[in-house]
Symmetry: C2
Subunit: 345 residues, 2 copies
């Protein structure tokens, strides 16, 4: 797992602490922490995530979106473990003498996202600093005590996405005005896939949200499960039409919309061949049409249907690229284009 | 409650959200949020608090102390509701290219505080920004479903502190080098009163920690319960000897060490007259000697044993003073001295 810069950091920071005997998941094995409450049979899901770099880099400049996302990033983690949402605590760091309109719109974003996710605001803490940031901690329950984790898929399982992917990258491109025309509006307001996650708890062999983009999510799932993935769905089916259009405007191939690091909070998951039909029927009955995208394979590594048919894609290189670009969007895109040239060759 | 600037802010931010039917406590009625998990009998305590202004103002400059406090501020909230500690999630916002030693010492402070509090690190989130901050979210359980809150004391109840007070203010004075000699070292490393809180759950009629200092805590408890407090313990018994010494070095009277806004994370609580003897015996058996400080009264307001015997103290003015001083320590102390002149007159 050490090929991934982000994982090195997590190991370093979390490695200093022992794991709790009440915790079901190991480090990085699930999107939310899974905790058996001592002296009870109750299993809860807890997760914490903040909107920090997105504000500082100017990616999120609308206070309503900041509030919405502070809730959604956490709700999406609950979705990926199949939890039933209970509530959220908020840590708001505002500027001293904060703009009233900013606070009003921020609170509206939080409130609307909570309503959409069936999450109650349970409490919080407000601080003041020269640099704004909003974090949340979401709480859910796992009613039958059987959560969904990132672990468990085996070769032969079918791979799905909860919907088309790439809107997270497309939004980042348009926000930084990197698409040539800048005429296509990207309506970026992801909704955590909570009801889908609860259904998946009955069926999926592994699950993770695309908070960091689709390819980084596939990369992490492959590593954790010691398998490979074959994505045989063509890009025109896999990537959201708006994302394809935005990518074209920036002279980028569609697949780069799957590279992260800014995601769209869909779910990627695997379903054993045996129950795929029952799963698809249950999903259909609930009004949801999951997108079949490929297969879990014995052979490690990511293969995707690209210019020359099924091509090996260096997912760890893609995943490290943004960090290695020092967080500079121009340099990151140049790196993606160098990779694309290799794939076309 | 609107006389208090901090409460106005809480009302404004939290007022936008409905209360959860699963939540036992109303706004500000307890130090931690008390949540009945849907579909179970399990009552949990959840609380979130961050170390932000303390870092930015230079009050905490030792990374070990920052880590220690990020845990303790949350553990102390668990203590004040009588919860049994389970674990904590951490939100660390570090500088890009953060100093390795800083991270190591920070993690040591977190680890040692968790060990001291019997809290497990369950997970977290790390972000990068120009401004450091560390927040935590602590989880505890209330085994018999009967938590301690800030509400419930009635006239005639006896008031106690878990120990002598004022070390929080003394530390702030010495850290900002405002004591004349600067020779007395203040060993500021508060420990959340978790076992005391669990005992208090059986006995106390209300409880709150002194995270914002003793007088602000007394003020909040009086307001919430619609009562007054008579503090008849003299300052030499109430204020920690080191705090008295530091105050003297800064030409400040001892009582100002109770004014906040930086506290010492002791507990202030009331015990009904009927069970005071049994409580004190139970405390003694556990090796703890709580400090009797006064009485709950019918007559509203705070009276303290000062220069002219029992004197009315304007606790709301004291509580607002730091905010009204724009957070400037010199101006805050000048305001305290103006109040002191009135009390001496």
């Amino acid at each position: 797992m050490n090929a991934i810069i982000e994982n090195q950091l997590i190991d370093k920071l979390a490695g200093a602490f022992p794991r709790s005997p009440n915790q079901l998941n190991g480090l990085r094995e699930s999107d939310a922490e899974l905790i058996r409450l001592p002296g009870t049979d109750t299993l809860i899901a807890l997760t914490t995530d903040g909107v920090v770099e997105e504000i500082e880099a100017g990616l999120y400049d609308d206070p309503y979106l900041i509030g919405w996302m502070a809730v959604m990033v956490n709700a999406s983690d609950l979705a990926a473990v199949g939890a039933e949402p209970v509530g959220i605590l908020l840590n708001e760091t505002l500027k001293p003498d904060e703009d009233e309109d900013f606070v009003t719109r921020l609170q509206e974003g939080i409130r609307d996202a909570c309503t959409a996710c069936n999450l109650e605001v349970l409490g919080g803490d407000t601080n003041f600093s020269s640099q704004r940031q909003i974090a949340g901690t979401a709480l859910g329950t796992i009613p039958d005590g059987k959560p969904l984790t990132r672990l468990g898929c085996t070769p032969g399982d079918r791979l799905f996405a909860s919907s088309r992917l790439g809107i997270g990258s497309a939004f980042a491109l348009s926000q930084f005005r990197m698409d040539r025309h800048g005429e296509t509006k990207v309506d970026y307001r992801p909704s955590a896939r909570l009801s889908e996650g609860q259904l998946l708890r009955r069926f999926a062999s592994c699950c993770m949200d695309t908070s960091d983009g689709a390819i980084p999510t596939l990369d992490e799932l492959m590593r954790l499960n010691g398998v490979g993935f074959q994505i045989d769905s063509p890009m025109r089916d896999l990537v959201h039409p708006t994302a394809i259009q935005i990518a074209a405007g920036a002279s980028l191939p569609a697949w780069t919309m799957l590279a992260g690091p800014h995601g769209e909070f869909e779910l990627l998951f695997a379903i054993s061949q045996d129950c795929a039909a029952e799963f698809e029927e249950s999903a259909r009955l609930s009004g949801w049409k999951p997108l079949p995208i490929g297969l879990v394979t014995d052979e490690p590594g990511l293969r995707m249907e690209l210019y020359n048919g099924l091509s090996s894609v260096d997912s760890s290189r893609i995943r490290n690229l943004f960090t290695q670009s020092g967080g500079d969007p121009e340099s990151y895109i140049a790196g993606l284009l160098r990779l694309d040239a290799l794939l076309r060759a």
